[in-house]
Structure formats: C-alpha cells, structure tokens
Amino acid sequence: MFLTRYFSEIAEAVGSLLKGMRMTGYYFTHHKEIITQQYPDNRATLVLPERFRGEVVMTHTDNNEHRCTGCTACELACPNGTIKVVTKFEVNAEGKKKKAVDKFVYHLELCTMCNLCIEACPTDAIRMAQTFEHSVYDRSQLTRILNKPDSKLQEGVE
Amino acid sequence: MKGETIVFYLLAALTLVSAAMAVGTRRIFRSAVYLLSSLIGIAGLYFWMRFEFAAAVQIVVYAGGIAVLIIFSVFLTQRAGDDMPTPPMLRTIAAAGAALLGMGLVMLQLVAHPFPTPAVAEVDRSVSAIGRRMLATGDDGFALPFEVVSLLLLAAMIGCIVIAMRAKPNQP
C-alpha cells in the first residue's frame, strides 16, 4: 500500500536521524571521550598510539650489533626509493668472503611511513619508531645512515 | 513638520524613484530589484496608513513570491548580464507623451473632483474582520469573488499538474 510505505519511510527516517542525534549527544555530554591532544603543551606526558609510525630505525643491541644482512629486500620493497643499502664484502673467520651491510642509507624526506620495508625484512633488522618531531633546517640532515659506526652483524643471523 | 510627514515623503520618493528606475534601467536584473524596492515602498505606505495586514501581505506576495519568480525567469530565459537595447527614440517619446498626457488628465480630474468627507465610524480592520468579510454573503461580503478566485487557483493548479505530467510523453 502506498500510505503504509509512506508512513513507514517516515518512521524509518526519523528513527535513523534520532539514532545519529543520540550518538552526537553522547559525545557532547561525555567530554572524556575527546581525543584531541594539546600537543606542544603535553609533550612530557604525550602517549602515542601503539601503531603510530614515525620513522624507520635499525635496532642495535648493547654490543653494537644489528641484524641486517644487507640483503636489500627493503630497498626493493620501498615504493619511493627511500632506502639505499650499500654493501661490502667481509672476510669472516673461516676466510670466506661474505656480503655485509656497509651503509644503510635512509631518506626520511622521501618516506611515507608505509611499513612495506619492515614487512619485507627477513631478519627483523629494522622497525618503525614513534619519534615524529623531524623538522630540521636543512634537507640534507634528513638523509640518515641507520647502522651505527663499527656495528657488527649479530651472531646467528643469516 | 511632523516626523510622520517626513516618513511619508521618504516612502513616496522611494516608491516613485525606484519605479521610474525599474522602467528606465537597461539591465534587466537591476530592473527587477528596483521593482521590488518600489513594491516595498508601497508596503511602507500601507504601514504608514495603518493597514498592517495589507502591508505584510504585500511583502509576502511580492518579495517572497513574485520578485523571486521574476528573478528566476530572468535567470532562466534572459541573458541577464547583457544590457537591453535602448528603445527607438520615437517610441520613447510617444510613450512618455502618452504617459504624461494621461497623468495630466487624471490629475486634472482628481483636483476637480471633491471627495466626500470621511465617515466618523471607523470599521474594525483587523485580520479576523477581513477574514469574516471574505466569507460573508451579505451587503459588503466577498464570498463570490473569493470563490471565483479559488476556482481560478484550482484551474492554475490543475494546469501545473498537467504541464508537469506531460514532461515524459513516450513513457507508458
């Protein structure tokens, strides 16, 4: 029937509108739900969400060892050409020549924090850090070398 | 001079000057705006004469209805940005002459004609009185014109519906 459809449409519309108004009304009265961060004021107590991605860093142990084998999987995975892995050949204890990472160059100014390099890494050498205050006066300062000087490959990582 | 008199002359000037500009300007949209201000001046005159209902109806009908209608039809059918062509000199002169002549004749008649002095009893001019008179059938009732206007309105509505329905002729 036309009339029943007409009125049921109205009832449905009013119901859904009221539902929306209830939601916004809830937020209006519950100020603890506010998610705005007063950023520069609360720098000391700022808590970032767990999955926030600020920049790519390489984890180093206390003995200045990292887990990067220089396989360049991250370099291949990066859509922007952010990462450039410079490799060298090292002679290990058995006298064998082996590929190792010389410089892990990371261009922060090109990075979109897409997380693809971290997923591509077979040895979990790199991860995303939560630092986000990256402003500098010169663009060249954004090009970083992630492996610390004289760092070694961790034992047992192939 | 009383304040009322000054207000009257201001309203009269607004009405007549903007009416003259409405027929004189060459830009059609401005013409519509001047017309509207002239009609609002008339509404002001009604207010001045203490016919508040007539004034309010004047504003509702002209500002809310007819001015918007005219402006929309200007937008939709005319090249509203272009100037309209000036009418030929001969026609302007002839029209102005006819208007002035008619005006002169009417004014002569007006000045010569003595109008009766107003009756003492003032009738109730409130909205409800007007409403009652609209539906009264007696000596000064307006039931017949009211019904005729209603019929006209009905015909106009039916015409609208017919025109709107004819928009899709080849659909079943």
């Binding site: - | 005319q78 029209a95 003032e122």
Partner: protein
Amino acid sequence: MMEPGLYHMLFIGAALFFIGIYGFLTRRNLITMLMSLELILNSVCLNFIAFNRYVWTDRATGPSMSAVPRI
C-alpha cells in the same frame, strides 16, 4: 509641504500607473513588460487602500478588494 492625505496617495497611485504604462509601451521584452504590469496592478491596490483609509472608513472593502487581485 502639505500634510499628506488622500490626494497625495492618489497622486502616487496615478504616477505609478503611468510609469507602468510608459514601461509597458517602451519595453519589448516579455518579462520587463510583466514588471510594468505589476506596477500598474500595485497602483490600483494603493488606490483601493487609500480610498478606504481617507474616504469610506466605515467599510473594510479596500483591504479585502486589494487582497483579491493578490491571490
């Protein structure tokens, strides 16, 4: 200047009427002609109201009659 009264109103009505006539004769455009016609109609309404205000104050014919053309 005189105290405004019936003759002033009738003068305004007549002037509006003939301004409308002038516009109606000079314009060659349907919408502008319609606008001139509106002026003429309004002058008529103004006369109705003025007569009701200054001459036949015992009847409310003016506002009723001027309401009819507006409807």
